[in-house]
């Protein structure tokens, strides 16, 4: 979600903060993921609105500190505001971010299957390496809170799937 910057200062603050990589998925930036919500600049103070991906995401603090550091390096006095509402959704990952995830070997989130009735109802996840749809879920939870583990039946490679929430 890109909020149009309204002044030169906000543009430069946005440029600095939006380049911060995600600490757990460093191929994408906080702007690619859509967790950097907005920047407001008041004199020398730059306030960044940042949303957590998951309630218990251990990277939240690291991300907030990194955004602060980036703003400080750009000459601002940084503040970070944690934005809980509306909650972050994988729909906010930009198309550029999705492409970066795929290139990195992580299948980007597909259509929502939020229905709790959909027991055993898996989405057809596309293998990020060979493009096959013949994949199977290994584990609902993966190396980080935002990912599940899949395996491609065509090329036999295991891969991470960025879960759709």
């Amino acid at each position: 979600m890109v909020i149009a910057a309204t002044s030169l200062d906000e543009a430069s603050a946005w440029a600095a903060a939006s380049a911060v990589p995600d600490p757990e998925v460093p191929c994408v930036t906080v702007a690619d993921l859509g967790i950097l919500r907005w920047i407001r600049v008041d004199n020398d103070v730059a306030i960044a609105g940042v949303s957590p991906t998951y309630s218990g995401c251990p990277a939240v603090l690291a991300i907030e500190l990194a955004v602060e550091a980036a703003l400080r390096d750009a000459g601002f006095e940084p503040r970070v505001e944690r934005v809980l509402s509306p909650p972050w959704t994988t729909d906010w990952i930009t198309s550029e971010g999705r492409e970066k995830l795929r290139a990195y070997g992580i299948a980007p989130p597909q259509d929502s299957t939020g229905s709790k009735r959909a027991l055993f109802g898996d989405v057809a996840v596309t293998c990020p390496r060979c493009g096959s749809h013949d994949t199977e879920k290994i584990s609902e939870f993966g190396s980080t809170a935002c990912k599940a583990q899949y395996r491609c039946s065509a090329c036999s490679e295991p891969f991470d799937y960025f879960k759709c929430i």
Partner: protein
Amino acid sequence: MGLFNAVIELADDHLVLGHRVSEWCGHAPMLEEDLALPNMALDLIGTAQTLYDHAGTLEGTGRDADALAYLRGEREYRNCLLVERPNRDFAHTMLRQLYFAAFMEPYWQRAIDHPDPVIRGVAGKASKEMAYHIRHTGEWVIRLGDGTDESAQRMQDAVDALHNYTDELFEEGSAQDGLPGRAQIRADWDDTIDHVFEEARLTRPATTFPQTGGRDGRHGEGLGHMLAVMQSVHRAHPGASW
């Protein structure tokens, strides 16, 4: 203080269950579940932390999230008894999680338009996480219930042991301040549980002796032991930082 009390009840439910689930870390029956269980625990503890922060603000006496989590004794905890039940075997743990998530998912759905922005934010996030927990644990309850003789027996044992603790989920607190009515969640909860039990070939017992009292601070023996472990470092090193 109405909203403070309601938020504390919710926070205590999430922290106590989150800590219980975290006790599985390194002990799960397979690697995938060793990832799944701490991830579910993180969801719960993360939600609890936001709720405790907010409760501290609502109370306005300077108690922060750490003080509320680590410096209250068991009689001051307001969690329902279901969440403090010991892990026992994997079947018990999966069923306890399903019972809780099947309640919280519709509860948070109904809280999404609450006037308090923190409640709104937690509700939007946690309702999705709870839907995920329902799916994950529901699938396990079905696999085990409709599995081997041994797994089916253990799953049914878990149902028989835990079902008497489910009525307390629907008890209304004294003042809910615009939070969803707990009794109104019953139909949604029944729907989820009946659906899973039917596929799992499990028998849903009648609730013969509903176990309650957690909202008044009357807990089982297990909670005190759990808090002793959970709070020991904070109490031994007050104010420590690293």
